[in-house]
Symmetry: C2
Subunit: 412 residues, 2 copies
């Protein structure tokens, strides 16, 4: 791993000197090469899929693992889109002149070397590379064992395309050893890697956060709530809840938990139950909710803190907005929370007091996403408070540097 | 520690709801109380000093530990200055309306609970509290054993002043147990503490960075370089180097290492040696430098990477700016670096290619400081790239939250 770290660091120094034109030329060459070498990629991927099926992998996971022409073209198109985005590198955010004549400016620069540890989806290889490359970083990728043949094929296509454009192939290095020991070693390569981003399930993220000596950006777990306040517009209740819960079950911005004000419960709960049971969603609620609608099954304490990622939702009744806020701040994962209300003070109060990356009034939690937020790209959704919070676009892959222009100044 | 964490979290929820007026009122009350209860503080401090002297503490450290009337008034004045600063909390950095009518804004909010682990200087207790309180955070402080009686006295004055103003006393909690076990426990209180800032020597910072499961902001080590380029204005060379090396030896932005272009070495090195030896600084250099001036003693490989914090400096000769940049990027701690040059291209090249928080042209590295940069306050100087880089003022103690105003929008 030391050797890989040193190569990535050397590539990052070259990347730091590249301008937009060179970086975009590299991205377009990579996109073209991925499509041109589709057959190779599919052949490598077929071996991964065969091995996965032989080992009894769940069908939904096999689907995520599979590369089709459409998915390869999608990956290439994503890279072309990244090439079109504004390059934030080199922007001087501000520059001021101090009383002593020193000009002090803050300039946006690449992070340096970004490490990404991810699970099975091989198209992450292309996406993650594109965002890091656009922002002038070198990237070390460590994917899962299941997708190793696909990842190797994608990485060599990318590296060869870069080399053919006289750009540093080591801007992307795939760690080919998928053992846990190597992952642990990577998490301690602090002298070479500037930030580590785990992408995958809660278990992976926890392991990386606990074992890394490199700063980590945690992404992705979402126990998201919708609070139906007593003044909620009833015409919004079912559409927003159905969208937030059922549009996609396996995503981190899906709603996992409802909180309903007791003053609207008798009216709202049957409407919610009608809409969700029609979609096949199981509702687990407290006693008061069950007394209103018998389709609700009993919730345990554990349910309040569970991210189901499935056709299940919890439902808690409360007597005030303060109780709702307390409940949500206690059980949420600081991702996305929404209030349905027509009350001005409650809308502001909820947005001020809920501790989460994204706090909505009268909208679905499903909008927490780099594309929906207008960033044009997304490397993940940060649920931590340092560096980046919420959907992370290109800016999250940059840092700043102070540049100071003097004329011989010394400190008095 | 669990109990302390829960109390701090509860206080942070209240802090989050306070406006500027309340926070400033608290700060002014604390400043007043510190001065009014000066005698108590000095009595407690005298016991710390007595114990330290009995244990044979170095005189310079005893000096740092000692509280005088002047230092207590300085601490109070610092807190009053913080009260005068602009409050960044609540600022909406931007708000845009998306094509679907959703208003998406990014709002500045407190981090929540800030943990600070620090060494002997008791006045850090007041400074750190003031910056965290101003930004709406609750603070858990864990100071060193040597200053425990002083810290306890300062913390109770602060807590009582807050309580007397009907503000949450738990906005500041001092951990009174100074054992290593408690510090380790604190580093893992992830469910309560949002960020950990170690303040002190390199050993402390390393221990925290390696053992914490909470995100850490690393501060403070500085192996800072000055590169004397071949086109340097000779009239700046000695003044800037003397200022950067000798104004204060024990600070992280002091210059520890010189790099001199061989084309100017014969002219510059004797001037540098004259100026530094007059101040009693030992110069450790490579063979080429020693051949020019016999006052230079031999440098070992280890010298290039050493932060002396003392009247010693290393000196390396190079044949090009590229060699200088490579040397500096290899041995620096990413803190502050300066080039002395009259060459336009080299000035830009150095600022672009040096990897450090602050990169100077023709100025002393001693300016890397929150006050010198115009922030009006400083919680430390970050040498990492995530979240905050360089001098950290109030903004480094904040995070952001997306607030989204909808009218029933669902994701298509």
């Amino acid at each position: 791993m030391e050797g890989i770290g040193a190569r990535a660091l050397a590539a990052s120094r070259i990347m730091n000197r590249l301008g937009q034109t060179d970086k975009n030329r590299g991205l377009l060459a990579v996109a073209e090469a991925l499509v041109a070498r589709e057959e190779e990629l599919k052949t490598a991927n077929a071996e991964d899929v065969k091995a996965a099926v032989a080992e009894g992998m769940k069908e939904s996971l096999v689907d995520r693992l599979t590369l089709t022409d459409q998915r390869i073209e999608g990956m290439a198109e994503g890279i072309r889109q990244v090439a079109k985005l504004d390059d934030p590198i080199g922007d001087v955010i501000y520059m001021k002149t101090r009383p002593n004549g020193l000009q002090i400016g803050q300039k946006r620069v690449p992070l340096g070397v970004v490490g990404i540890i991810y699970e099975s989806r091989p198209n992450v290889t292309g996406d993650a590379f594109a965002l890091c490359f656009k922002t002038g970083n070198a990237t070390i990728l460590r994917g899962g064992r299941d997708a190793i043949r696909s990842n190797k094929a994608i990485a060599s296509v990318i590296r060869e395309a870069l080399a053919s454009e006289n750009l540093p192939a080591d801007a992307l290095i795939l760690v080919e050893d998928t053992s846990h020991e190597i992952a642990r070693e990577m998490m301690c390569l602090k002298q070479y890697i500037d930030v580590l981003i785990p992408r995958g399930g809660a278990g992976l993220i926890k392991t990386v956060a606990e074992n890394s000596t490199i700063p980590v950006i945690e992404t992705g777990t979402g126990n998201c709530h919708i609070f139906v306040d007593e003044s909620a517009d009833m015409s919004m209740v079912a559409p927003i809840i159905v969208n937030a819960k059922t549009q996609r079950y396996g995503v981190c911005n899906a709603c996992e938990s409802l909180v309903v004000h007791s003053a609207i419960a008798a009216k709202a709960i049957p409407v919610i139950c009608d809409a969700l049971t029609e979609k096949g969603v199981e509702i687990r609620g407290d006693e008061r909710a069950r007394a209103i609608d018998s389709r609700i099954v009993p919730a345990s304490e554990e349910d309040w803190g569970t991210e189901y990622l499935d056709a299940i939702i919890s439902l808690k009744t409360v007597d005030s907005i303060d109780e709702a806020i307390e409940h949500i701040n206690r059980y949420n994962t600081k991702h996305s929370e929404s209030i349905l209300t027509q009350d001005y003070e409650n809308a502001l109060k909820f947005q001020n007091e809920i501790d989460a990356a994204a706090v909505y009034v009268n909208a679905s939690t499903r909008f927490t996403d780099g594309f929906e937020f207008g960033f044009g790209a997304e490397i993940g959704i940060s649920t931590q408070k340092l560096h980046a919070r919420g959907p992370m676009g290109l800016l999250a892959l940059t840092t700043t540097k102070y540049i100071i222009n003097g004329h011989g100044q010394v400190r008095p």
